[in-house]
Amino acid sequence: MDRQLLERTDTGMPTRAVALDIDKIRADFPALKRRVGDFHLAYLDNTAATMKPRQVIEAISEFYSLRPANVHRGIHLLSEESTDAFEAARAKVATLLNAARADEIVFTRNTTEAINMAAFCLAERLKPGDEVLCTALEHHADLIPWQVLRDRKGIELRFAAVRPDGRLDLEDWYSQLSERTKIAAFAMVSNVSGSENPVAEMCAAVRRVGAISLVDAAQGVPHMPVDVQAIGCDLLACSAYKMLAPFGIGALYGRYSLLEQLPPYQTGGSMISSVSLEQTYFAPPPSRFEAGTPAVGDAVGWAAAIDYLQGVGMQALHERELELSRYLHERLSEVPGLKMLGEYYPGKPGIASFGLDCAHPHDIAQFLNEEGVAVRAGHHCAEPLHRALGFDSTVRASLYLYNTEAEVDQLIHALHTVREIFA
């Protein structure tokens, strides 16, 4: 990376236009105060899961202390309150994504379930010869469900290639998109190379061929303003725990007019209109897709996380992340023998995957942990992308709003230690 980069700004806006008060933010996260041996924890595994602020932890505690009742409009006070809290969380997610109505938000366990649900519910619209267009840089969650669908329905599954710089080969993608395409599924941001796709432009192209678009926004929604109406997607999936919220909840956003046409996924209580031993009539969306008792406490925690993020401001958070991402990539480029998976470009989100010539990623991660630096090693559930770019596995460092330049320095220092030991 050239020196000039530091002088440019990534977004065209003056750097730190809206400065986040990072010390104040960090004080909200109890886990960030932990130490690993003699070192401060430098938590750089945010792509896998983020830390939780006390506001979220307290919202969960409060919910379970005061109104731990089941939802579905039970008539007693606690159930009323629990139902209200659950539906308020749905409305909050809808607002975050700028959905046209709260009923476009289906709660799921995570992104994986959201995509499985979509693939299952779309299956009956497909016939042999139809095509699903995927990409080679997807997370397994946005890949294997389509393989399953392919095997189940006898359709064609196509993959747009990834370029050596770690970005989607858009030309290849466009060349494979055709009238035969019925579904196009792609990530908003790769969880490995960190590169971002032009999702609005892609969704428009998908619409033009009359296909359905699904955006895997697991690494998008937590990190930037996302507006499903502006993007123009039909379906969009994300996970709460990657944005300060608890594990156990995520969402499938769906355009209401599409959701209405889809059959249910799981079946059971609270998704029915009437049931006899012989036949069942299903409720309208989103209930139709939410069988059984939902993860109410996790939804309440998610709502608190969204409040927190909106308090900081998604745009401000995004700009700060791009700033720190630039610093991260710059410092990494100074480490001898380090090979990046993909290339940095101004505006690239804060995800960096790399290897060292002298050591295996798992050994690197082991020594990074010894110096308090938390990263992931492996293929990060994207084996095909790793293979395409000539890696078996990588070390991945990834950022969020509470990370600092000092933590990046700590990572770099630890990488030098690894080099000393292994070289």
């Binding site: 039970g74 008539i75 308020a88 409305a91």
Partner: protein, 161 residues
């Protein structure tokens, strides 16, 4: 809100003696609504004459709130123009669903006594059952049974307010 007073002064009267239950000689349009969460039902028949609701007949089974609300509705719309019935419908929804703090007195009349139901979130649907049948009738969906859950006027997000 005093639940006992609400029931004693308004609801029980209509629940035990629903009004306008006599069969019509002539039925212009009939519509039904079912609340799928409990199976309760209201069937509404209208005798229309030149844009006026000349006669109305109510049949139904269900909880006191659903049946009383439907019964009071029949009294409010009988003899009114279709236009005014539509206005009353919107005003009632505004009061019960959106929790309109200043409901439209002029349109609602006696129905104002049901205002407290807007606070019983789980029962808002009950109060609307008859009105959803009315809506279907006004849209001339003859003989149709609408499902209360499908009712777009009942945004789930309002429940989160």
């Amino acid at each position: 809100m005093d639940l006992k007073a609400l029931y004693r002064e308004v609801i029980l009267d209509h629940y035990k003696k629903p009004r306008n239950t006599a069969a019509l000689e002539h039925t212009s349009i009939q519509a039904r609504c079912k609340n799928p969460s409990c199976g309760d039902r209201v069937t509404l028949s209208l005798d229309l004459d030149n844009g006026l609701i000349k006669g109305v007949c109510l049949e139904g089974t269900g909880c006191a709130i659903s049946q009383a609300s439907a019964s009071m509705m029949t009294m409010a719309i009988k003899g009114q123009s279709l236009e005014r019935a539509e206005q009353i419908l919107q005003a009632f929804r505004g009061m019960i669903v959106q929790g309109d703090p200043e409901p439209q007195q002029e349109l609602l009349g006696d129905l104002l006594t049901l205002q407290g139901v807007s606070q019983l979130h789980a029962r808002v649907k009950c109060a609307l059952c008859g009105w959803s049948a009315l809506e279907a009738a006004l849209e001339e969906r003859h003989g149709e049974e609408v499902d209360l859950e499908l009712d777009q006027s009942l945004p789930r997000s309002s429940a989160g307010g």
